[in-house]
Symmetry: D2
Subunit: 369 residues, 4 copies
């Protein structure tokens, strides 16, 4: 591993989580129609001057299928494992069981600005042309990059949220220190964006569960069951200040109601536990899930038979979402490069060679990369 | 009643809700240290041109005691009766049981912008001087003024939130079409901001419960138990579009834990019911409560004796918060003047003479104004 | 009104709540297939001897349609307004969105015994014949009759629950001091079981919302908006000891998902508020709702069109459930006769003549009985 | 390992979970004043005859300190990870933040009977002597032993619950196929009761967190991070029928409010995840927690300083409760002996030799037993 060879994803290094099969890109974009876009802001170095930088932050947008999410919302649910943070839009998800905008991720203090950006995008592209602007409820999550970034400087502007939505594409997803994950920390090492997916059979056809995380939390990093505590630099800054947190976004084309999606979201925390999170006091741990097919006309009529089949599928979904979450967290760490931020604060990259050495000592790699 | 004589508050017109005693100003500011500030934006008339107006909106800020709410947070809780809207900051209230910023109210699409404004205020006044900016979680609520206001134009700017905080004062509170309530509608009539308070005895000293509402909801207006259906102009616009909602903010200097405050917040909805809300599908009905004394050193040690006394007091608190909420809603309607908004949309003021005539017919006024 | 003429229901006395239309029996049994059965236990008088009486208690069973509720469960939801009590079975309602047994109501300390009775009924009638007994989760609610009844004597036996289920019938429902409501108190007067219903149009056909309450709570009794405080004997026993509570069961043949039923359950508390509940600290206030049609094959496929129509209907459902709840509470009080219980404790019947006199003074009756 | 040498607990076999220190007995009884009692019912063999056996079931009672839990309740909270089951008493825990009876565990269909037993115990020992019986709310949890036990026969009687309370003692706790855990299954192997504890420093003195589980769930058994999938006999019976579930009871003498206890309960699920649970659809996974000191007069006044210290301690509590839960689950499996139940159904004991062999292959034992 060096700067010339790009850092591999966990699976490329022979680390296999669970027994399920991944989707084509092993990414949230394996759910048909789902797109992801990043805007990454890295500017300046040296001492923190609030309002001037250094800047290590960004925005990531996850787009449900289609272009008019208000007219064609996706069924949705959420689960807050630890509410030490803020996510705009959760109460509408509870009440109406739906998401009617892109889901955007950024730093904690920029939630409002990104909310305004999503509003501007929706008003300009969707509502203004019709001449009638309704109320709607953007979904914006966050974790804190205060350790590396001039978080008080509010360098994310509304137009960055617009741009992240415009950048969104299907296919492979950039991971590590990009988008909302740019300035994030996990286990005292460089964290950020990671993604993974699993596929399962439903009615003879494939369906996918995709997970994208913005990983910024602490604990004892555990890879495939093996603790990596010796690799972690002890975090010198109290958790409340650094904001140890994770946003987990789950997408699926299984036709799951909000009630079932809520249950799926809960199981994502099993992956978080297995990756070694300590569920810390100051860690805002949020899971947001949506189904791209539940609200489609005729996708799967809610007859008694399909309800029964849904309950059979749900056990697979429970198992796979935990696995995909665990792997998405590993991918965030595997792909993230070392970063120097404000005041010379450093987050080292996960030392991959030593990880693999420890795993091999424990015979915990399933195959060689 | 005419334009020369200002419109009275409900109690000044002889309408008495419940048997409790009001505080000095019959306002949320009767809770010592609590301040309220408004910024009201009214500009332009004629057809809607998104981004240009007409503008009928604003911001209302409710300040917990003190100047550094992050260092000295208030104990807090919330209850979502109907989550058809958005309120930033609820999950931190749940998790940490506290509020660490002012509580700001505005229109739905401006929640993000006001969030940024609160962040700017906190960073500039509190954190930047110390050189370290932590993450924190502003509380920003909303209802929709889309019927009268160019809501898509985002005319509320971050500096309006800063200004609302700076405008905050103790003493009487402006009501009706002011601040966040400027463009709001209730029962098809002009709604907006209203407030009321109740006092009770605790340990031989007075304690207060204050309520402030941003009233924008529908149903069958009921004054002191008497339905006023005949006075309401039927709403020509579907609820989802107009955003029929209410934000209820409850403050008290009773030393109530988040668990007890949550229970108090639930009882506020009894006042909402009695004022005639139909709890409509598209009505975002949120209650946020805080105690100004619970977290103060030594205010009331949590011994078994005080826990027991707390449970005795709580029944009074339950009754009084419902009464204060009902009266605050009436005050919003009593004080709000007729408004013409975008596209010539009109919200008439509640016709007070007819209200009093109906009440007198039913012998439902307790005394003459 | 005297012992010869039976006490009228509220509507028969000219009291009309809301503008909706009632079903045939103005009872929860207006929902097709729903049946109600009571077992009433009244034995002994004089001083309390724990284990010997006097006995003033019973069981009420509300049966979803059909005979095998496990194989054909109804979609369900619940809302706890105040959890000062216990209801068995709520977590399964949340998790699976369904009820798979009858719903039984009794006194607080007999919840376990009635749970066993429901288990016995299900095992003997449904499972034992097939030779395989699965786990399942009975729904049993309660309020406390400790003021009139030897509650510690556990006079309700499992066979009484079985018998209440066997007694269940469609058509008119006995109200007042019967079944689970036998020993209950409301507003310091005799309370008990009450029911009411509303009908609405859906797709050109009628649908019903039925409510049954076991009313045992306190506050300021309010009839059609008019407070009846002067009629209430002040309660000499602290609320915690008497158990001021209400169980509200809502049934409908609208095809509502658990998410929507949860929202309907919340609106039932608006009727509770309007009837004058103070939502007291020790009052266990629970709402349980079920839809008899949602899980039926083909009843209403969950296409996007029907989801949209569902949202239109929901506003009617919200309004009507509040009205039916308010009227069901009034019916409990109107129909309940004076009762003398243990230790000579007395609960007077609501003095109907005086109620009507007060209403007439306020011109609050819609028509004469 | 053979029938002569008793099966070791996990730690005695060299398996160490986390870095924390255990209490004296590595049991929930390490929390001062907490006692545990079992009643184990094993009778008959051969084919199931509902009502006649074979019987493989029981009751486990966990007693908060003292003798009159109603007069001196413990502060409490709960978290339902998956509500596929039933636990009586949860809503009072939410509303009043307390538990006022022993906590009893049994099989699913016997919850009611055990509820009656707890009521009988409380009435006879505590209330009847004073001549006044209030309402109160027993806490009774369950998992399903339908695979081994004649669950429909209701062989647990109220007196068994009384006896389990009377059997309760401090000191070491019997584990495996005892009490409520008698007929339980985990990972297709014999499950049952397990316990563990951790100690931490608070204000210079020790405090304990103890966990007791009734383990009956499925997934891929994972010991110290290493999956044991090869050891599990695939479960031939669908989860819904066998009832794959876990009850987790957490006790501590840290002075934690219900809000903080709720957060601690959530972290217990991290231990469940790491032990390999798949969080299955039909698995009722409940966590109940209580603090023995929070409500004691003067134990720790809730001043601002102590609130701050509490937040520091809470991170330790979060980490340790997950570790203790994981270890308690392992102890249930390590200690449980093979059992033959109804219809010749067999649950093999966890093959310890092979477990240790696999762990050693992965170098995952910390030290030799």
């Amino acid at each position: 591993m060096n700067a010339v060879t790009p850092r591999p994803r966990a699976r490329d290094a022979g680390i296999v989580i669970g027994t399920g099969r991944t989707g084509t890109h092993n990414a949230i974009t394996d759910v048909p129609g789902v797109r992801v876009g990043h805007v990454t802001l890295v500017r300046g170095e040296g001492p923190l001057r609030v309002g001037h930088g250094p800047v290590r932050t960004g925005v990531t947008a996850i787009l449900p299928p289609g272009e008019d999410w208000y007219a064609e919302p996706v069924e949705a649910a959420h689960f807050v494992f630890n509410g030490a943070g803020t996510t705009a839009g959760l109460s509408l998800i509870d009440e109406f069981g739906r998401i009617e905008t892109p889901v955007a991720l950024t730093n904690t203090l920029s939630v409002g600005t990104v909310y305004e950006g999503v509003v501007r995008y929706m008003v300009e592209r969707i509502f203004a042309p019709c001449g009638e602007v309704p109320w709607f409820s953007p979904v914006v999550g966050e974790t804190s990059d205060a350790y590396l970034n001039d978080i008080g400087g509010l360098h994310v502007r509304p137009e960055h949220a617009v741009q992240a939505i415009e950048n969104a594409a299907s296919g492979p997803v950039d991971e590590g220190a990009v988008g909302g994950g740019t300035g994030m920390t996990a286990f005292g090492l460089k964290g950020g964006i990671g993604t993974a997916s699993r596929v399962l059979e439903m009615e003879g056809e494939g369906a996918a569960i995709g997970v994208l995380v913005q990983a910024n939390f602490g604990g004892r990093l555990t890879v495939a069951g093996i603790p990596m505590v010796e690799l972690q630099s002890p975090d010198p800054v109290p958790a409340r200040e650094t904001g140890a947190s994770i946003m987990i976004v789950v997408a699926t084309d299984l036709p799951l109601s909000s009630r079932l999606l809520h249950r799926v979201c809960k199981r994502a925390t099993f992956g978080l536990a297995r990756a070694g999170s300590d569920g810390g006091h100051g860690s805002g741990d949020y899971v947001i899930g949506f189904s791209t097919t539940y609200r489609r006309p005729g996708a799967m009529p809610r007859t008694r038979e399909t309800l029964a089949r849904q309950e059979v599928l749900i056990n697979d979904a429970f198992r796979l979402v935990a696995d995909a979450t665990e792997e998405a967290i590993l991918n965030a760490l595997f792909r993230a490069e070392r970063m120097v931020g404000r005041d010379g604060h450093v987050r080292e990259a996960l030392p991959l060679d030593r990880v693999l050495e420890i795993l091999d000592r424990h015979r915990a790699r399933r195959h060689e990369a």
